[in-house]
Amino acid sequence: MRGLSFDIAHMLAGSLVLVSFMQLYQDRLYALLNIFALHAAILAASVAWQALVQDAPHLYLTAVLALVFKAIIIPTALHRIIVRLGIHREIETVVGVGPTMLLGMGLVALSMVIMLRVTPQADPLAREDLAFALSVVLLGLLMMVTRRNAVSQVIGFMSLENGLVLAATGAKGMPLVVEISVAFSVLIAFIVIGIFLFRIRERFDTVDVQALDRFRGERR
């Protein structure tokens, strides 16, 4: 049993990294949203599997939380925002897709090298999980950096948080307090973003971060 549970957890975490790559590839907002929903779903599955393996009931709660909020509610809300703001047709990547993917590969390699230095006596599951979590975080950050549109930056930020949840659940026995708080903060963060988007929408008639920059303080 030991081998199988490890392989499945390993497969789920690996697929999460794969989906993060797919996110980088997208340049349409709608597609990006759907991929993000898939990303959240895989995260929920992985968390659920971890709950099963570590027989820690509280993880189920996190899995459900992740699935309901991140896979369903947030994508639909963002979908409606995109329709209202009418920004679904813009292509807003900064660096071409090719170099971004190369950079992504480099980041994953880097996180592997770093995590391999961790001494083997820590159980291998933790080491693998952390490597994947680190790559998801780095990819999320890369996505925030290479996108101009505020919504896609928010999605990048969300995938970064998914990486965090993956790492948190990977750590066996991490007290519940942390998981709930992680979820709690994600929620709050999202609400705040929403408020901002609307307010930003109300003020600037567009959500492109470029437009925001023209109103930087202290004109040069």
Binding site: V137, L160, G173, V177, F184, G217
Partner: protein, 479 residues
């Protein structure tokens, strides 16, 4: 009795935040806000005289005892200042009464979050507290709803959240490193446990954790490459918030970073955190010093001065050794007192002159002498000129560093000199010369400002022994 004090420091802000959220009249809420801050400060003072056994979630030791008192004291004086400031802002209709109700509630939540960070024993709880502090300040920075305010808040939110996320990842890594040694569950998150077993942790994990923590909490401290949110948040937010941000939040974030630096210092195999902090401190000190020259907004200038001072403090802790650590702790307290006092003065100046542009403010010592000379005293203090306290810490840092690493000390001295040049270049136009702009006298409370300057002057000349003993054994603790 001791648990009462601990509980008080946390519960009073939370309860008052809830109460303030419901009340409507802003004069009442302002006074309540002051009362709550005063009560919290009393409780914090109590902590000084009472021995508290560190529980799984809360901890009071020499390091945070001083900072708790400092945070609550500055919180109280800022609430006194913000009462008169908000009153004036509403008179000139820059703020609507509803947002003010929301403002006072958020103010108390911020106080709660900072107190929680300081006395949290559980690193996860510490992270949550900092997250709450970030979110509340983001909301308060955007309270004016002008374009620049929103842009500043949005920038602060994005950079802050990314920083916080990295910090969380660092915290998780610390837990992962602690779990095989201390065992699963709550104990692996309790700082006092971590300190005892730090030597046995896996060094590679600790290194990665420290990198993430340095970047995560470093963003909140405002070190050079990660500082981008700080100037705009200070300039566009209401001045009491700039005072709290500059005076307290930077210190609290640095306090969290120091907790983790202790862990790393205890583990010999891990890389030494010193050089990393020294380089980042030096870069931010010199970078911020050069940025002072082109500033056209008075609050943004003092924000860069905060970055510069945080650079000096991180440099001091990076250098390590009893003398440098003592200087760093002293500099943290002195800087928060001086910078918040300066922001009190700047707040009134902005209200009297109706603008924050340096070009439109002139001859302050002629039109409002008390305010003008208060600002001059503040700039003299922040530039590190003697009788005032910051000179003592800069004296210790530069001279103790010069004996060990001459080039670093020369670079730091160069940064301090450039910063002094920038500050006084602007002070000449603001405080002296022909008066510009409206010359109405400022009806405002100068008590908090001059209280801070009095303390800084007193410490510059004679340091009370209780403070000295506290700092000295913490300095040994920091390694």
């Amino acid at each position: 009795m001791n648990f009462l004090a601990l509980a008080g420091v946390l519960l009073i802000p939370v309860l008052s935040a809830a109460v303030l959220a419901t009340l409507r009249d802003y004069r009442l809420t302002a006074r309540l806000n002051m009362l709550a801050a005063l009560l919290t400060f009393m409780m914090a003072l109590l902590l000084f005289f009472v021995e508290v056994t560190p529980g799984p979630y809360l901890l009071v030791d020499d390091l945070n005892k001083v900072f708790i008192v400092l945070t609550t004291f500055v919180g109280f004086t800022t609430s006194v200042f913000s009462a008169s400031y908000i009153g004036h802002e509403i008179d000139i209709a820059r703020l609507t009464p509803t947002s003010v109700r929301f403002y006072h509630a958020m103010y108390q939540m911020l106080m709660f979050a900072m107190n929680l960070t300081l006395i949290a024993n559980n690193i996860g709880l510490m992270w949550v507290a900092i997250e709450i502090a970030t979110l509340t300040t983001v909301l308060m920075v955007g309270i004016y709803r002008t374009h620049e305010a929103l842009e500043a808040a949005w920038k602060y939110f994005i950079l802050g959240s990314v920083g916080i996320a990295l910090a969380l990842f660092g915290t998780i890594l610390v837990y992962m490193a602690a779990r095989p040694v201390i065992g699963e569950g709550l104990d692996a998150m309790v700082w006092t446990e971590l300190v005892q077993h730090a030597a046995k942790f896996d060094p590679a994990l600790l290194n990665v954790a420290f990198v993430f923590l340095l970047l995560g909490y470093g963003t909140k401290v405002g070190l050079a490459p990660l500082h981008a949110w700080l100037p705009d948040a200070h300039a566009e937010g209401p001045t009491p918030i700039s005072a709290v941000l500059s005076g307290l939040l930077l210190n609290v974030a640095l306090y969290a970073l120091l907790r983790f630096k202790m862990l790393l210092a205890l583990n010999p195999a891990a890389i030494a955190p010193g050089p990393l902090m020294v380089t980042m401190g030096l870069i931010s000190c010199i970078f911020a010093a050069f940025m002072l020259y082109r500033r056209r907004d008075i609050k943004r200038m003092f924000a860069y001065s905060s970055i510069e001072h945080m650079g000096i403090i991180v440099f001091a802790f990076g250098m390590g050794g009893a003398l440098a650590n003592f200087a760093g702790l002293l500099h943290m307290t002195m800087h928060s007192l001086t910078k918040s006092a300066i922001f009190f003065a700047v707040g009134h100046i902005a209200q009297v002159k109706g603008t924050q542009r340096i070009a439109d403010v002139g001859g302050l010592t002629v039109t409002n002498p008390v305010l003008g000379w208060g600002l001059v005293l503040g700039v003299v203090a922040i530039a590190g000129l003697p009788p005032l306290g910051i000179f003592m810490s800069e004296f210790l840092v530069v001279s103790s560093t010069f004996a060990r690493a001459p080039w670093l000390a020369i670079a730091l001295a160069f940064g301090i000199l450039i910063a002094l040049g920038g500050l006084f270049l602007r002070l000449n136009t603001i405080a002296f010369g022909e008066p510009r702009g409206p010359t109405a006298p400022a009806e405002a409370s100068f008590v908090p400002m001059f209280a801070h300057f009095a303390i800084v002057l007193m410490v510059g000349i004679y340091m009370p022994p209780v403070l000295v003993v506290g700092f000295q054994n913490v300095a040994k603790l920091l390694g």
